[in-house]
């Protein structure tokens, strides 16, 4: 597959920030509130710090041993094509299930909040069609959309936090450690999969205009999304008690409903619906693109675009597999969220570390590797 797309640093930062920060609209606040109670706001900080460390290690190894190569190329060079195909199928499966889960959650969100009489099939189909269209336009289309949406998302989340100031109860944040430090740490590791930057960066990094900015893109996106999630969770926990927060299906909606700044400025949830919808579409478009792109690259398709309608249809069907939302939430929590780190973190790290070990084992061929890396650097200069 030819790699023609080149995307700017700011656009990539915007896209990566949105896909992580949009978890504030999903079930993430509910999950972390259930497990760590008052200390829920610490989880994005700990998860973000771990992500940042893992990302910096991965970035260092990639630029030292595999300059200008993505994770598929590293895997193909290390394990060969059949095993790479197996790894890619795991990642594609994760992306498909993740898209299906996000689609269902946002669809239910829209039905509950603004369109209670509209059939779920129609809302889900419109969501999926919009995401599929953006994914079909490719990485450039997704990143430009994300760049446009990013300021709205940041201002929206911060405005929501500040506009509920008259409902804040700082005492709700105590006891400080919530369920206890060990539970907070364990839960932060379990729910680290919301930071899928590491996996995505390993995939999209050759598409950056300036691959040397890889470190800046990853660091800024991780830090900004961590700050947004933390700000939201702190506010959410100052407005609702931990028990209430653990039962909230749509945290952002419930926060928006609380806004009361006088007779003419109250219940501003209708404004925030646009925020959810745009962020949701960008998030789903990224995972659809990721599934199609990776599958195409592993299989050797000349273009991944014709596969996008089929993948979208598959995601749509899976999103409606369970009849009730409770089972969707349970599946999402137990499998995608709690075990997602194996795909998002463990797999890329395993592939890159295996590549580095293989590189060291082939020390006799080190000269050849050096010549190859030099050729790549010259080609990308």
């Amino acid at each position: 597959m030819k790699q023609k797309t080149r995307v700017g640093t700011r656009e990539l930062i915007a896209m990566l920030t949105i896909i992580v920060a949009s978890n504030a609209f999903l079930m993430y606040p509910r999950y972390v509130s259930q497990t760590t109670l008052e200390a829920a706001w610490m989880e994005p900080i700990i998860s973000g710090a771990i992500t940042l460390i893992v990302f910096l290690i991965v970035e260092m190894l990639l630029s030292k041993y595999f300059p200008y190569m993505d994770i598929v190329q590293v895997s193909q060079e290390t394990f060969g094509k059949p095993i790479t195909m197996f790894f890619i199928l795991i990642v594609v499966g994760y992306f498909i299930l993740s898209t299906a889960s996000v689609s269902r959650q946002f669809t239910e969100n829209v039905i509950t909040t603004v369109l209670p009489s509209t059939p779920i099939l129609l809302i889900g189909a419109v969501f999926m069609a919009a995401s599929a269209y953006i994914a079909y336009m490719g990485l450039e289309g997704i990143c430009r959309t994300a760049y446009f949406v990013q300021p709205i998302l940041i201002i929206g989340i911060l405005a929501l936090c500040l506009m509920t100031a008259n409902w804040w109860h700082p005492m709700y944040l105590f006891p400080f450690w919530g369920s206890g430090p060990w539970v907070v740490l364990k839960s932060s590791v379990f729910y680290i999969s919301i930071f899928n930057n590491v996996l995505l960066l390993c995939v999209i990094f050759p598409h950056a205009y300036h691959p040397r900015d890889f470190r800046v893109i990853g660091t800024v996106s991780i830090v900004v999304s961590t700050l947004l999630l933390t700000a939201f969770l702190v506010t959410f926990h100052m407005v609702f008690s931990p028990v209430e927060a653990g039962k909230a299906s749509f945290a952002l909606y419930q926060m928006a409903r609380m806004i009361y700044l006088g007779r003419f400025f109250q219940r501003l949830e209708s404004i925030f619906v646009f925020l959810w919808v745009t962020a949701a579409i960008v998030k789903m478009a990224v995972s659809l693109w990721g599934a199609g792109y990776l599958l195409g690259k592993a299989v050797g398709w000349k273009s991944f675009r014709p596969s996008i309608p089929s993948i979208s249809l598959l995601c749509f069907a899976i999103s409606l597999w369970h009849a009730d939302l409770v089972r969707v939430i349970t599946m999402d929590d137990q499998y995608l969220m709690q075990w997602g780190w194996t795909v998002v973190f463990a797999l890329p790290v395993f592939i890159i570390l295996s590549g580095v070990i293989r590189h060291h084992l082939r020390r006799g061929g080190g000269g050849r590797d050096k010549r190859r890396n030099k050729r790549r650097r010259t080609a990308h200069a």
Partner: protein
């Protein structure tokens, strides 16, 4: 039943599109790529058929 038939129009169109993609890959001598495209098309068509059947019948 009629609702099910109507609902399956879009999946059928997507199946035809994906099959033609597979045929195009085959004409480019990419047997494995075309096979994966067929599998993907059939999988998404069957999954949506199952869901719509459950919803509309």
């Amino acid at each position: 039943m009629l609702k099910f038939v109507f609902a399956m129009i879009v999946p059928l169109m997507i199946l035809i599109y994906t099959i033609s993609f597979g045929l195009w890959m085959r004409s480019n001598h990419q047997g494995f790529g075309s096979a994966v495209a067929y599998v993907l098309g059939v999988l998404s068509f069957s999954a949506s058929g199952f869901i719509f059947w459950r919803m509309f019948t």
